[in-house]
Symmetry: C3
Subunit: 316 residues, 3 copies
Amino acid sequence: MKNFININDVKDYKSLINETIDIKNNPYKYNHIGKNKVLGLIFFNPSLRTRLSTQKAALQLGMQTLNMNFINEGWQLEFEDQVIMSGNKAEHIKEAAKVISQYCDIIAIRAFALLNNKENDEKDLILNSFVKHATIPVLNMESSIAHPLQGLADALTIEENKNSIKPKIVLTWAPHPKALPHAVANSFINMCKCNDYKLVITNPKGYNLNNNITKGLEIIHDQKEAFKNADFIYTKNWSSYDSYGKVLINDNSWLINEDKMDLTNNAKFMHCLPVRRNVVVSDEVIDSNNSLVYQQANNRTFAAQNILKKLLSNER
Amino acid sequence: MKNFININDVKDYKSLINETIDIKNNPYKYNHIGKNKVLGLIFFNPSLRTRLSTQKAALQLGMQTLNMNFINEGWQLEFEDQVIMSGNKAEHIKEAAKVISQYCDIIAIRAFALLNNKENDEKDLILNSFVKHATIPVLNMESSIAHPLQGLADALTIEENKNSIKPKIVLTWAPHPKALPHAVANSFINMCKCNDYKLVITNPKGYNLNNNITKGLEIIHDQKEAFKNADFIYTKNWSSYDSYGKVLINDNSWLINEDKMDLTNNAKFMHCLPVRRNVVVSDEVIDSNNSLVYQQANNRTFAAQNILKKLLSNER
Amino acid sequence: MKNFININDVKDYKSLINETIDIKNNPYKYNHIGKNKVLGLIFFNPSLRTRLSTQKAALQLGMQTLNMNFINEGWQLEFEDQVIMSGNKAEHIKEAAKVISQYCDIIAIRAFALLNNKENDEKDLILNSFVKHATIPVLNMESSIAHPLQGLADALTIEENKNSIKPKIVLTWAPHPKALPHAVANSFINMCKCNDYKLVITNPKGYNLNNNITKGLEIIHDQKEAFKNADFIYTKNWSSYDSYGKVLINDNSWLINEDKMDLTNNAKFMHCLPVRRNVVVSDEVIDSNNSLVYQQANNRTFAAQNILKKLLSNER
């Protein structure tokens, strides 16, 4: 694989999951692969799980890591071509990507959606600019529109916990005081498609996700109806896609609580974290035995490790 | 030892010091212990000595380190239970501590006292929340009320420099323009108790430390009287404990200078650093041959290294 | 070599370049030299190339690295002697340098000119204070007045690309909206002198560099005249030295474009990066086959690696 930008970069997703399980069972099996190899981690946004799990993954492959919080440690970057750089941006992405490529073997990028302009966010400017100008593989650590490492960790978690061949998975919107991006939801949906899971999406009216991603999938605006017989409840807030980046609902009617979980088939609760307790999900649900949130976070390490391994060895 | 939160976590302090000296004499003796082990260093405050010496200690054990300045690299944390997280805190300590535990083998925390509420600081909320929710050993890199790695480095330094079995040690308050926490003084006192040193505390009226820590110890409000026959002068500012977090004195009458050092038994001068020259201590004293401040700082590495070794191997 | 502060610290510059080429051809040849050695990288300013290339160089020598962005991770430093530290500076450089020296084997410092006081900047206060008080070798990662690692990378690049024994090299000023330091230009000039290159400097009136550095060199105020027959065009903005730190020109008359490059002997284009496109240099020139900017950046790794090797082994 040349880059890992979204799930489509993977040839055979089922094999990917099986290989990731294999790495989880033996995390130091490939610890020679990264010898004298350097992973550069470039952050344009805060990060806890991604920061630590991706570094841990690299260490387990024997790689070295170089971290940069680009905003305050480097120079402000210009992403547009052919501009006269007389403002506050000191360096062009073209130079930044090319020089980082000379010091590293893989470059990992985190760059969230700004949520103020749909068209710009859809272009995934920062990530795609690195892909365009870097001369080494690029790893997506959450971009404007995709978070495929989270998707892979979620797939692994579902495979480890499913009780039937084709479980019913519900992706449910939940409330949040701030406008959040669509990347996690997008990648979760794409991952479910790759795995041929039975996926139902439930969200309030006005909160439908990008139709290019959801097309062919069932979207139900009645959350309780959607929860019936669910085996997995995957919870995530996102801001409105139609009224782009807007927060339209300020009540807790979509909070995930025990009453709603009781409607399911004893479903497992999933969330990518960080999560606002008692806004997105009640303490009772996230602290229950059915909660998989820590397992999801743990699986981030092995997801990253398998992808790094594939990028290093140019496997598909 | 399960965690290293304060000096009470150590079973036999004299053995601890001897083992630390042994490590100092042969710092790479245990460099196989940390193979494939990860130390996560989480900073909520600035750090120079602690940041570098703790990482150096880990490297000498063969450990990997992952650093996070939590304030600007991660998410704002909620520490209270059962709250509705609708404010500016994006993640609960419960999740943060548990997920970091999955990526690391030991988690080291620096979280200073805020000095605006005694009761809250005494609870040592951040550190104890990590202890409560982490599933791996927790190492205190200075909390609201204790700095036991500094205490151990100080003990090592005293042992290396004492000329009698039971030296007279004076812990003296000194002036400072800003309100500082009590953690270093608390841990120094507790360490002296463990070692059965003859400890005298001298501070202005209104600056007595927590009576639970000082009880049974001599507190003298006449600094010059206290200095007589001292073998070690351990200098540290702290804000008022009774008038919690207040700075009550703005003059230099308690500054440590040569005239005062002349009252001692040719005492060694100690301070944990950073120190404000000519406010806390005169240039002459800190630059004299009797100053042990650099040796104290150097001993931080070996103190951390022994504690990390014990945490990794679950020794007491 | 005890420290690497400027080019004068090198005994034989031609040998230095040849050794650096040797390292570039075999970057892991000396990967045993850094075993159990620690490089401390201390940044007072932003850094991309220097941050990553210097760490990469250390890794290729088998060294460990410890990073600090001193401004927000450590304490504000006092650099003046004998002051009463009652302001906002919590630690004296004397302590900081000495304690870092105990945790590291080499200390690398980046501290730009402030450009508000020529006399202060010329003293190179931060770097020289570390040199004065550190007890380990100090490596200059760009100071107020010198950037010798850049100079060495530039020398390497010229040697790799020159078509004649004594190429004509033009150091040309270029426009920039912000006031920039003189360090890169100073070190480039000193490097050219060491290598006995034919160097011509061209800059607008009012922009002559420090006469102590340029004396004996040709300075031409007609950029086009200077470009004639040039083999290398080394481009760099600097603020006025006479009207210290001032930006005197706000037009693009000194921009490097194809028309000007056409006046040369098919010259190579060089710049240390970061560069403002279409302010300093046109897209066409920097993107042309004659542009060496990425090669210069790549050579930073090997320049740093050779210097680190010399500092570790105390070679000259």
